[in-house]
């Protein structure tokens, strides 16, 4: 059984507005005079409560910087909560930042291996999947050359093929991925749908309200690091659309 439980989770960190602090600056400034570069407290998430069980398909909406991606990374275990507790049971598949983290000097095949190991595969479990990943990427002989020679579209194909090859229990998706050329896009969308159906639990961040309405059973509306509304998909999305129109109209009138 897959489940997610966030209890009163907050994420707070310090960011320096100007630049990083060096050890020299820390010692000289910190000891002798107040810093000219004071840290700024960033409240990325505040008091998030979320419970999800098998079968839940959760959509997360909100404006840029509302904390949607931070929420997803917290669920994935990448951002540890500053306060509160996070419990996630089940094998997690996270589809975000998939374009980064390639070893540029290694070949496509090798990168498939590294990525799969990173996602928790073992040499035994990956053996059967290698060919399927390669076939889905349609990269053929290009898999034998270092990925530093790949175009952005080829990288995306490879990344997508690897990331979606595992059978997830908890699926975390950030934005709908625009993948490669038209033919591949159709294929990728079919694969995504398949994944979303097979995953026991899904959390999806998207600005595309149509796919949210299609895919999700529940929606969270986030603003300023907080969940301001949550409930059935259509109800919350309608409210969200109405609120966005109200915001846009005065601006258009002026």
């Amino acid at each position: 059984m897959a489940k997610i439980e966030l209890t009163d989770v907050s994420i707070i960190f310090n960011a320096h507005p100007q630049k990083r602090v060096s050890l020299k600056e820390y010692l000289v400034r910190g000891l002798f005079r107040p810093s000219a570069n004071p840290p700024m407290r960033v409240h990325a998430l505040t008091g998030i409560n979320l419970v999800a069980r098998d079968g839940d398909r959760i959509g997360v909406i909100g404006h840029n910087g509302a904390g949607k991606s931070t929420l997803l990374k917290t669920l994935a275990g990448i951002y540890p909560p500053t306060t509160g507790t996070r419990i996630v049971d089940g094998k997690i598949c996270s589809l975000f930042d998939i374009m980064t983290g390639f070893e540029p000097e290694a070949t496509g095949w090798e990168n498939i291996l590294y990525r799969s190991y990173l996602q928790g595969e073992t040499p035994r479990s990956i053996r059967g999947k290698l060919d399927a990943i390669a076939a889905f990427s349609e990269l053929g002989d290009f898999l034998n050359i270092p990925v530093r020679n790949y175009s952005a579209g080829m990288m995306m194909r490879l990344a997508f093929s690897i990331a979606t090859a595992i059978d997830p229990e908890v699926l975390l998706i950030d934005e709908v991925l625009a993948v490669g050329d038209l033919a591949f896009q159709t294929k990728a969308q079919a694969r995504m749908r398949e994944l979303m159906q097979s995953a026991r639990l899904m959390v999806m961040v998207a600005h595309d309200l149509v796919s949210i309405r299609q895919m999700c059973t529940r929606v969270l509306w986030m603003a300023h690091g907080q969940i301001i509304r949550s409930g059935p998909t259509d109800e919350i999305v309608d409210e969200y659309v109405a609120a966005m129109h109200r915001q846009a109209q005065p601006a258009a009138a002026a």
């Binding site: 960190f13 310090n14 960011a15 990083r20 602090v21 060096s22 050890l23 020299k24 820390y26 990374k73 994935a76 275990g77 990448i78 951002y79 540890p80 500053t82 996270s94 975000f96 930042d97 998939i98 980064t100 983290g101 390639f102 070893e103 000097e105 290694a106 090798e110 291996l113 590294y114 190991y117 990173l118 996602q119 928790g120 595969e121 073992t122 040499p123």
Partner: protein
């Protein structure tokens, strides 16, 4: 801590695949292959042997070369663990942002690669010793040095981990360490023998230098061959000191990990 280590164990396939890649990249793209990356310590050794074995009145050039190369291998390993190891989180940032793997696998990636690299230099040392002594005592020395290598590996992992966490918060740490290593090289008995300092009453410089602990459990048994009874006692003291100091380093590293592992991602 044990939970952390078991998480590292779970990530072993990922880790070993990357270590393998690092080594292959390092030795590819050069005509000399493995030889190319050994050129630096070997060239240093030749220079040292030609210049210093005369200067320090060492009558046996092969013996001196083995001494210098063994010292350089151990020193180079610890130096790279500290400096390259400190950059491990920045280099592996993309992985860190994607997957909740234990952070220490990234420092272990650097340290393991360096360990294999330095072992190659030690293989040459063993060859030199066989050439010089021509008896099986060399193998006894090697056997006595192997636990020392393992202890040094653990210490290097701890140093790299501490350095990497500090470097994530203060990006000039790696540079400061580099300067420190540059100075440390001359304060460590690598190209000169300890007796040279003892004669001048400067033996304490070596005594307070922790690098010397690792030299005395790798280089000294390796060069010593079959030890005399007194030598064996001395060696066990050296091992004791190295184990205790490594234990302190590991404790420090474990403390740093548990203190900072929840914060470090916001500073990368």
């Amino acid at each position: 801590m044990f939970r952390h280590l078991s998480a590292v164990w779970t990530a072993r396939h990922f880790l070993l695949a990357l270590v393998q890649l690092d080594l292959r990249l390092r030795y590819r793209r050069s005509v000399l292959g493995v030889g190319w990356s050994l050129l630096h310590p070997i060239a240093m050794t030749i220079v040292f042997t030609v210049v210093f074995s005369q200067l320090f009145g060492d009558s046996n050039p092969v013996g001196y070369a083995a001494f210098a190369l063994a010292g350089l291998a151990v020193w180079g390993f610890l130096r790279e663990a500290a400096t390259s190891g400190s950059r491990a989180f920045l280099q592996n940032e993309a992985y860190i942002r994607q997957s909740p793997m234990p952070y220490t696998i990234y420092t272990l990636r650097t340290v393991l690669g360096q360990a294999i690299h330095s072992s190659l230099a030690l293989v040459i040392v063993v060859c030199l010793l066989v050439l010089w002594k021509g008896n099986p005592g060399v193998l006894v020395g090697l056997a006595l040095a192997i636990p020392g290598m393992i202890i040094t590996l653990i210490a290097a992992w701890a140093i790299a981990t501490i350095g990497a966490f500090i470097n994530a918060f203060f990006h000039d740490t790696a540079q400061i360490l580099e300067v420190g290593c540059q100075i440390g090289f001359f304060l460590t008995p690598i190209m000169y023998r300890r007796s040279l300092l003892d004669q001048r009453g400067l033996g304490w410089v070596v005594d307070i230098n922790p690098v010397n602990l690792y030299l005395s459990v790798i280089r000294d048994p390796l060069l010593g061959g079959i030890p005399s009874p007194e030598g064996l006692v001395q060696l066990s003291y050296a091992y004791l000191a190295a184990v205790v100091f490594t234990g302190v380093l590991v404790g420090l590293a474990a403390g740093v990990v548990s203190w900072l592992q929840k914060k470090v991602i916001f500073y990368l």
